[in-house]
Amino acid sequence: MTTLTLIEEERKRAFRHNAVVHTALFAAVITFCLLEMSLGENRYPISVILRVLSGEQIEGASFVIGDLRLPRMLAGLLVGSAFGVSGAVFQSMLRNPLASPDIIGVSSGSTAAAVFCILVLRRSGTSVSLAAIIAGIASAALIYALSRGGKFSGGRLILVGIGVGAIFNSIVSYLLLRANQYDVPGAMRWISGSLNGVVKAEIMPSAVAAVILFPMILFAEKRLKIIELGEDIATALGMRANRTRLFLVISTVCLIAISTSVTGPVAFVAFLSGPISKRMTGRGAPSLPAAALTGAALTMGSDLVGQFAFGTRFPVGVITGIIGAPYLLFLLIKINKSGGSA
């Protein structure tokens, strides 16, 4: 067998493997979507769900599924995949598994802006999303500017990000405390993220952003993979790395910001999706569609666990936090053992 045929074989195998992984993830996401709509105080069979979705009016079911569970499911799907994609993009771009937007403080800027708009300015919908986007981009720029000094270092970026995140979080705490109806479930949404009480109108900006930005980011995936090879190689291959990077940062920050203004910063989804999907698809750069599917599956799966696995209903962020943080520790131990600096 010649080398060429070996490579050919290997490629085919990788392609088949990828196809299986993507199909499995897709199936998992669809299953979770159906479960989100079927489970609850009243259980509905799939036939009823499909009839409601096709527009039929069924007493009780139409309201419960159409107005309560469908928005919740859509929020989980959109927000989860948005966090998944943005996390994977940041991790590839900064070539560091720790550099996801929720760890380096980009999301906390958006959260602070969203909370300010909703609780203090009493806005909702598009203006909240806009404010969250602007704050997200501003905090990304701020973190980058503060961590530039001398030679660029991923570790410094992460430390600065943790600090910036702490400042924004204290602003969020302050705003929550000043709010009139300071109730605990509402506050949880802004501290660790929750799908409770999402209404249809809130999902619109998120859906629009997904429709516009997902294809654009996927289109840039090839160039992202080249950037991941390193600055020098990317330049040698004739890429304008800075332009691609700027485009990717702005588009992913928009996704994060809009999602955050809907559900709050669902803890660790952005951080987890990339590495998990990478492990499943095998060697090479992570595939962004796989990361998006993983994010959606993770968010909805954790939401289901939070809603039904225990006596009380936990918001999704508490569950993802409990799953995600041990993984972060595991990753740290692994990085430390291999002797690489974070």
Binding site: L159, V164, A166, F314
Partner: protein, 346 residues
Amino acid sequence: MTNIRTDAARNRVQPKLRRRAIIAVVCVCALCVGIVCSIVLGSRKVSFSDVSGAFFHAAPETIGEAVVQKRIVRTVFGILAGASLGMSGALMQAITRNPLADPGILGVNTGAALFVVAGIAFLGISSPYQYIALALCGSFVSAVFVYAVGSIGGKGATPIKLALAGAATSAVLSSLVSAIMLPRTAVMDAFRFWQVGGIGGTTWNNMRAMAPFLIGGATLGICSASSLNALALGDDVAAGLGVRVGRARVIGAAAGVILCGATTALAGPISFLGLLTPHLVRLAVGIDQRWVISLSAIGGAIVLIFSDVVGRLVGSPGELEAGIVTAFIGAPVLIVVAARSKAHEI
């Protein structure tokens, strides 16, 4: 010849000593100003007679006097909590030789909070002694865990490794705290301060329970200061100078953990105070641990008292927990430390 040399040496030492003494006096004055502010300022305006009455009447005669007496309690507690957190931060930074060591960043506060919340929820604890015992266990376990995770691998516990290990551990622990508290909404409101940290809502009784731990911790801390000075030169040099490195570290660490554990038991996790204070103090008095550790105590008290006053004024008519204010002013210190460090040091 000898005279000239000693004069020169003295010249180098004396101004520093004078400067340090001046700084110490300034700190004490600032603390006094803080105490006065903390008693006089707040949501409710009080008159001078209220203040003087509060000091001389055992039982308050007007609402103003009652308010002032409450403020006296929280001011004293603020001084104790701030002093122990500041000193604890200085000790931890000295022992780990790491500019980012801080009870909050190392996850010690959250560990204490988790144990106490679990104790309230599952064991039904109520006395301050039980709080303190559980908080001490929690801080000890999480401190050891974070330091162990952070020091795995080649270069030992570097700032970034410690900070990330602490952040991750804090995230796990605070998720668990939420998971324990959420189903118990009734208890939750009373213990909401566990998540932010504040110095309101304590009593003389609680402080009496805390006092022995603080005195013990502070004594250990001050006693270990000179061996920590040697430790700063590196383990080998310190051993060469006759310091028992292992013992010095254990004593210093124990003092740091006792101080912040006992404080967290009653105040909740107050973040970034232990990071911020020693950095400011080192800017003022240099690197001599004896000065850094003792002035960090005074500095911590000043910062916490003023943070509490600011929190009361900004949050009026309610109040903003001091922990939020300290995070807001303390986090920039983390950023500055990170931004100034060289790439290979992180």
